[in-house]
């Protein structure tokens, strides 16, 4: 994964997504929900990047932006089709299809992500047809190959979605994406609706697929342990912005942002002897309608300074200087967590 680190496959630059809040009888816009407020993210070839954060921090919105299911209010989305980064937020129909072939998305709810009236095999076949695979033999062999990757018997494809369990359906959803041969798969909370044992199965499957195919993944989750297990790098989100991006192996000791440190200290630990002190953050997450003007975390940060309340920190190289470790914080020396 390190060899091709130089140019990203997909780059999101200061992505903003504001949803208008309307009120009154005239339905005038009276405010804006800042779901994403300037997110920068580089996704490299062959890497899995986990996006973690609590409910409402904008991680799902980020996923939908990356899949261009919604257009960003502001910011740049550029994708490398093979000859440099190109804008993908405004595409015509033909270009859009080319982009959608490269970037696939898997959704949270396995029970509704297949058309209930369509046999699963037909659904997979249709996706390939739309993407211009004309030869039925080739479509079949690609579907078969994808099913083998997710350990699904091809004979099962003549069934309807309701005849499968949640885990099976999620595997089928993965296979449906793989059959298209994408370069990036965005997985939005794909294990959160499943049993823990099935979660492990899916997560291991994703790791295996990632190793075998060298695809890039954006793995959105709220589970820190899963994020660390699956991802090469982890992007931590708080209130619509990415506060820290750090290599998975660097967790939790090297975390530098006060929010990341607090978040990680809240993860239950099996090691009873060396149990660390939990950091209990004060207050509530501010409403994204009137987010703080400076650093999003400034209202709750134990190390808050004057500059935090006025100026928004941008992602910079972290103090430890490790490759791929970036943090958005005004503190020059990271807090120790004590």
């Amino acid at each position: 994964m390190t060899s091709k680190k130089t140019t990203p496959l997909y780059q999101a630059k200061s992505i903003k997504k504001y949803f208008p809040v309307t009120g009154g009888i005239l339905r005038r816009t009276i405010g804006q929900v800042k779901a994403l407020d300037g997110v920068d993210l580089d996704i490299y070839r062959g890497e899995t990047i986990s996006v973690i954060g609590e409910s409402g921090c904008g991680k799902t919105t980020l996923g939908r932006m990356l899949a261009v299911l919604q257009k960003p209010t502001d910011g740049e989305l550029t994708f490398d089709f093979g000859d440099g980064l190109q804008d993908v937020a405004h595409l015509d129909r033909g270009e859009e299809l080319a982009f959608r072939k490269k970037v696939q998305m898997i959704f949270q709810d396995p029970y509704t992500s297949f058309n209930p009236r369509q046999r699963v095999g037909v659904a997979m076949d249709e996706v390939l047809q739309v993407h211009g695979v004309k030869d039925p033999e080739e479509r079949f062999s690609r579907i078969k190959e994808a099913c083998e990757m997710v350990n699904m018997r091809v004979e099962y494809l003549q069934r309807y979605p309701h005849e499968f369990s949640g885990g099976q359906r999620q595997r089928l959803a993965i296979a449906r994406c793989l059959a298209v041969k994408p370069e990036l798969i965005i997985a939005d909370e794909i294990v959160s609706a499943l049993d823990v044992s099935i979660q492990a199965q899916i997560v291991n499957l994703l790791r295996k697929i990632q190793k075998e195919t060298g695809l890039s993944f954006v793995f959105i989750t709220h589970d820190v342990a899963v994020a660390r297990y699956v991802g090469h790098r982890i992007a931590v989100m708080y209130l619509g912005s990415v506060v820290e991006i750090l290599p998975a192996e660097a967790l939790p000791e090297n975390a530098e942002h006060p929010y990341t440190i607090a978040l990680l200290s809240a993860v239950p630990d099996m090691n009873l002897q060396g149990k660390k002190k939990q950091i209990a953050l004060q207050g509530e997450v501010p409403s994204p309608i009137d987010a703080p003007s400076g650093c999003a975390f400034s209202t709750r940060c134990p190390y808050v300074m004057d500059i935090c309340k006025t100026t928004r920190p941008t992602l910079r190289i972290a103090a430890d200087g490790k490759a791929g470790h970036q943090v958005a914080c005004h503190l020059e020396t990271p807090p120790t967590g004590e």
């Binding site: 899949a67 009236r117 996706v127 993407h131 039925p136």
Partner: protein, 309 residues
């Protein structure tokens, strides 16, 4: 491509065959339709032939349903009248449903201005009682089978429109639609290939209900003398004969038989609708199989749960 399972259409047919209600309905409709096509051959009389010697005869072996005041054979007229009544009911319902479905599908999926305009238009049309609208149109267009069909269709599309629109509004939020968009499917494909099949059961039910309603509406309109010209026999025109109290009291066969024909046919159509609704839902398929196993109790216990699963 993949090793062929029995095709969905075949499965649906075999399930429909096993569906008792549906099959009874189909048998009734088939019987009524074929006998109205072969009206003359079955009854043995020309429906428009006057017979001055045999007026107002009660049912007998020569005239199964008696004769009217002009000596025309009522059996022949009831069968022959079915042609027009069924044509009007089925075609008007089909056209109205087609308009309502297409507009509802697009409005519900695309939303926006198109939706706002259409929903206001449908509200506007719905504020008038349908009968009043029909009367207005009849005065403009005149009487006739084709005109009645057209008028029913353009005054009756709103119910289907609103039904389909609301179904689409809820379906478009489903994850599979989102997935379709992420795969780059065109809106046309999503609307007509993916969402429409999921809306089929309410549409089919609406179609059968509307067919029944329009057959009755035609009868009502013709009864008032505004539908199809009296010279063309329809069930409604035949019923119109019962306007005179003397007919109601003394010549019961003149109105009982056309009325019975309407009831029988409408029941048949509704039965087909019930059967189709069961068959069109893939989730109910296993249920149909189990039901044919013979245990209605089991179906009662597990049926509703299965459907929700």
């Amino acid at each position: 491509m993949i090793e062929k399972p029995p095709s969905t259409a075949k499965l649906m047919i075999s399930n429909f065959v096993r569906n008792t209600t549906g099959m009874i309905g189909l048998a009734i409709v088939f019987l009524v339709v074929t006998s109205s096509i072969f009206a003359v051959q079955i009854s043995g009389y020309d429906p428009n032939m006057f017979d001055g010697a045999n007026t107002s005869l009660p049912p007998s072996t020569t005239h199964l349903m008696g004769t009217d005041q002009l000596g025309q054979d009522v059996f022949s007229r009831v069968l022959y009248g079915g042609r027009n009544s069924i044509l009007i009911g089925v075609l008007a319902s089909f056209l109205g449903n087609l308009i309502g479905t297409v507009l509802g599908a697009i409005a519900g999926y695309v939303r926006g201005k198109f939706d706002t305009i259409l929903i206001r238009l449908s509200e506007l049309v719905m504020t008038f009682p349908q009968l009043v609208l029909v009367l207005i149109f009849v005065t403009f267009l005149g009487q006739g089978v084709a005109n009645v069909i057209f008028i029913f269709a353009i005054t009756g599309w709103m119910t289907t429109f609103r039904l389909v629109r609301s179904e689409f509004m809820s379906l478009r939020e489903e994850a599979f639609v989102e997935a379709d968009r992420a795969f780059g499917f065109s809106s046309k494909r999503i609307i007509f290939r993916h969402l429409l099949p999921n809306t089929m059961s309410p549409i089919v039910v609406a179609f059968t209900i509307n067919t029944a309603i329009y057959i009755i509406a035609e009868a009502g309109l013709s009864f008032l003398g505004l539908g199809v010209p009296v010279t063309t026999p329809t069930w409604g025109n035949l019923l119109a004969a019962a306007q005179a109290p003397v007919v109601v009291e003394q010549y019961w066969w003149l109105w009982v038989f056309p009325a019975a024909a309407i009831v029988v046919f409408v029941t048949g159509v509704n039965f087909i609708g019930d059967g189709l609704r069961d068959v069109l839902d893939p989730r109910s398929r296993t249920q149909v199989k189990e039901a044919s196993f013979g245990s209605t109790l089991k179906q009662k216990i597990f049926g509703s749960r299965k459907r929700n699963a």
